[in-house]
């Protein structure tokens, strides 16, 4: 581990605390009301009528379509709440009180949707269409890091705000960070940092790990994060094998694991890849084996409830990490689960949570900035410290536009009581334990910069 800074700086905390206090008392505005008319011009897609259009770019087809559908439900709920409908959800628990249910800056929120198909080129095409044809002032969504990085770059080039949805790769706010892009979701580094101590505690420090890794951007950063974090706890990494993203049968990758002498298998897989690789690993009886005098264990660094549902009983007892879970008992989570559950009949996924929160955060930043101008919104979001949105105290770090908050370590539940009750939270890792410096080697080092905000004017 080099160059990591695992504690928040004193200055950062003081600054965040001050911002939180200010948000609780009165929402600070960066621009006066008289200047607002001027601030609705001079940037791309400045809304001129009584409404403002947001672009929801989610996978509506392809392998992540179910997650995309849940993201879209959350976006629609957020729009309803922003326009004063429903019960207000997390607007009632959000520490900032700038949102009043009167749209954003008095303009009714409308939206257009695009289908990313979980393909970077299709995602860019749909985002471009929403920006150029529909006049979207902000693009949000995605359920893949490849897509998020591609769309974020497009938004930066064109001068539109990008509020990332479910994207977990370090690169999104690491080497590919952009001034116009912000990510609320956690990342691979945070998963590794949160998981490693729990794994060492549960399985011991003398372990040999074998990694199977999805052969793309997110897989690489997750493998790097988890190997570094677990090796820091004393584990040995005996092998790392890349698996094609299109692979459906992982038997030929899993069968040699026992021969390698490994006693832990780490599956750096997501979505259908994870469901299939975990199923195959269980079929091959890995979890029933004893290696090096210890029970063989499996770890899934990034979990989602929708994935856990796909993997069925195979997830029982398996550790992983997640950005949020509907069973959390803080007021924000309870309010969101109530709103979402009442409207749709089932609890929201972590994908739904992060996209709902991103929409509120964007709207709130516009209100506090008094403009939709991307540079004003960026300024309002940078260093913004908030709470009440389901993850405890959270800060949008200025240097890389990454949200820092507590991380959940979860385990597949042994005796689920319902079809939604698949994961149990075993530890809430505090923000300070997953903190790193903006120039951390895993995040692109000193070369990674945000650049300057682009208004598209």
């Amino acid at each position: 581990m080099t160059g990591s800074n695992k504690t928040i700086g004193r200055r950062g905390l003081l600054k965040g605390g001050a911002a939180l206090g200010a948000a609780g008392l009165a929402a600070p505005t960066f621009f006066t009301h008289s200047a607002r008319a001027e601030m609705h011009s001079g940037y791309l897609n400045a809304p001129t009528g009584k409404s403002v259009t947001l672009g929801f770019n989610v996978p509506q087809s392809g392998p992540y379509a179910d997650e995309g559908a849940d993201e879209l439900r959350a976006y629609k709920l957020a729009v309803e709440h922003l326009n004063g409908g429903g019960d207000g959800g997390m607007m009632n628990t959000f520490s900032s009180k700038a949102l009043t249910g009167n749209g954003i800056l008095g303009k009714k929120v409308e939206y257009v949707t695009g289908d990313t198909q979980t393909k970077s080129d299709a995602a860019r095409a749909s985002a471009k269409s929403m920006i150029e044809k529909d006049g979207a002032v902000m693009i949000t969504g995605g359920s893949s890091s490849g897509v998020a990085v591609a769309v974020q770059a497009l938004c930066q080039e064109t001068g539109i705000m990008f509020m990332a949805g479910l994207t977990h790769s370090n690169d999104t706010t690491g080497k590919d960070r952009k001034a116009n892009g912000f990510r609320h979701f956690f990342n691979s580094y945070m998963s590794g940092a949160a998981l490693a101590p729990v794994l060492a505690n549960a399985y011991g420090k003398d372990r040999k790990a074998y990694h199977l890794t999805a052969d793309y951007n997110w897989g690489y950063t997750t493998e790097e994060a988890v190997t570094q974090a677990t090796e820091g706890m004393g584990w040995e990494t005996v092998n790392t094998v890349k698996t094609p993203l299109t692979q459906t049968d992982f038997s030929s990758y899993i069968a040699p694991v026992l021969q390698s002498g490994a006693d832990v298998l780490v599956l750096n897989h997501y979505g259908g890849n994870m469901v299939n690789s975990l199923t195959n690993a269980v079929q091959f009886g890995l979890r029933d084996k004893q290696v090096n005098g210890k029970n063989f264990e499996i770890v899934v660094p990034l979990y989602s409830r929708l994935m856990a549902k796909g993997a069925g009983a195979n997830v029982k007892g398996i550790f992983g990490s997640t950005n949020w879970h509907w069973s959390l008992q803080d007021e924000g989570s309870k309010a969101f689960v109530k709103s979402f559950g009442t409207k749709y009949g089932f609890p929201p996924s972590q994908a739904a949570h992060t996209t709902y929160v991103q929409t509120l955060l964007y709207a709130d930043a516009c209100e506090r900035a008094g403009t939709f101008n991307p540079c004003g919104v960026v300024e309002a979001l940078e260093g913004f410290f908030f709470s009440g949105l389901g993850n405890g105290p959270t800060i949008y770090r200025k240097e890389d536009h990454q949200c820092f908050k507590d991380v959940l370590v979860v385990k597949g539940k042994e005796n689920p009581e319902s079809e939604f009750d698949l994961l149990e939270v075993v530890e809430v890792t505090p923000m300070s334990k997953v903190w790193y410096s903006p120039d951390h080697p895993q995040m692109g080092g000193a070369d990674a910069t945000l650049g300057t905000c682009n208004t598209g004017a």
């Binding site: 038997s251 021969q259 091959f284 689960v337």
Partner: protein, 343 residues
């Protein structure tokens, strides 16, 4: 050596799926002269027959449990399967657990009907059209079928486990005198391989030893002459299409516990199955089966980390590489006949 033996075993089950799909493709091509790109979708529909039966058997009556609450704090709705009520909890659960083997029987009439309807309703209109038209229409049909499945079942994989008695694995290495834990093989994969051997043998026996099969083989060799003898060969070929659909469907049903079914699984197998048909030799059923197993095993061996370390990415291209080499050295494939697709 252990590692290679292990990968050969692994290749057998994947090869079984390739062989079953390629067998159906060859059967259709050999009889009707149609290149059927919807064949992967038939494999996928077969897997979803297992999903549907599993859901039908798990059909439940919802009762309110006042002692527990759901995620919104309301009284919990608990599903009680009718099977438990009708046959008792133990027997009812056993029936539900055995849904995949039971789906073999369930899927045969369904796949037969789908195959029959597909041939009569759409594909027969394209017999006299160029192969490119046939490919386009069947590929379009495959997309329509998978989107229908996605609409009803979602995009995420659906776990459809094998009966509990077959979910474990056995130590093949210990059985053959090697060190324990070196070669582990799941029971269900062994069953899948055995099942594939039985189905392939049955299809060959049907064509070889029945009058119907003899007429079909005669029709494949010389359709016109068989027609002139007063035999309605078109009707028999339609039935062969339905039979090929059944073979693909059964391959899908039994594959459901190996990989959780999802709407896209047919496409994943389709392209490789076509490569298998080409390598085996267009129109040769024995070639399709041989190439299916051969390429399945090669794909497994190419996935060994020792191989990938020396030749990165070889696991993703090995099948295509072998196909190129075979087509360069044997342009008609391993067992291809002269004159097939050469006009």
């Amino acid at each position: 050596m252990d590692a290679i033996l292990l990968q050969i075993l692994n290749g057998l089950d994947k090869g079984s799926a390739y062989a079953l799909i390629a067998l159906g493709l060859t059967l259709i091509f050999g009889t009707l002269g149609v290149v059927n790109f919807a064949h992967g979708a038939l494999f996928m529909i077969g897997a979803f027959c297992a999903v549907v039966l599993s859901r039908l058997l798990s059909f439940s009556k919802t009762v309110i449990d006042e002692t527990r609450t759901d995620f919104l704090g309301n009284p919990l709705k608990v599903d009680l399967p009718y099977m438990h009520q009708w046959f008792g909890e133990a027997a009812g659960q056993t029936i539900i657990d055995w849904s995949v083997p039971l789906a073999i029987l369930f899927s045969i009439p369904i796949m037969f009907a789908i195959g029959y309807a597909m041939e009569r309703g759409l594909i027969r209109h394209f017999y006299k059209r160029p192969h490119a038209d046939q490919i386009l229409v069947t590929f379009g049909l495959a997309i329509v079928l998978q989107e229908i499945v996605k609409y009803f079942f979602g995009a995420n994989p659906i776990q459809t486990p094998a009966p509990p008695a077959f979910t474990g694995s056995f130590d093949f290495g210990a059985l053959v005198g090697l060190d324990p834990n070196t070669i582990i093989y799941p029971y269900w994969r062994l069953i899948y391989f055995s099942f594939a051997v039985v189905i392939i043998s049955a299809v060959f026996a049907f064509l070889r030893f029945t009058t119907f099969g003899m007429v079909v083989r005669a029709g494949m060799a010389d359709r016109e002459t068989v027609g002139l003898l007063g035999i309605d060969i078109d009707k028999r070929f339609t039935l062969m299409f339905a039979l090929a659909a059944c073979v693909a469907g059964l391959a899908g049903v039994m594959y459901a516990p190996i990989n959780a079914p999802n709407y896209h699984m047919g496409m994943d197998f389709l392209v490789l199955s076509f490569v298998v048909v080409v390598v085996g030799g267009m129109g040769s059923m024995a070639g399709a089966v041989l190439a299916g197993f051969l390429l399945g095993i090669l794909e497994s061996i190419a996935s060994m980390s020792q191989v990938i370390d020396y030749l990165p990415g070889i696991n993703q291209i090995v099948i295509y590489l072998v196909a190129i080499i075979i087509l360069l050295t044997r342009p008609r494939g391993l067992m291809g006949r002269k004159g097939v697709m050469e006009d």
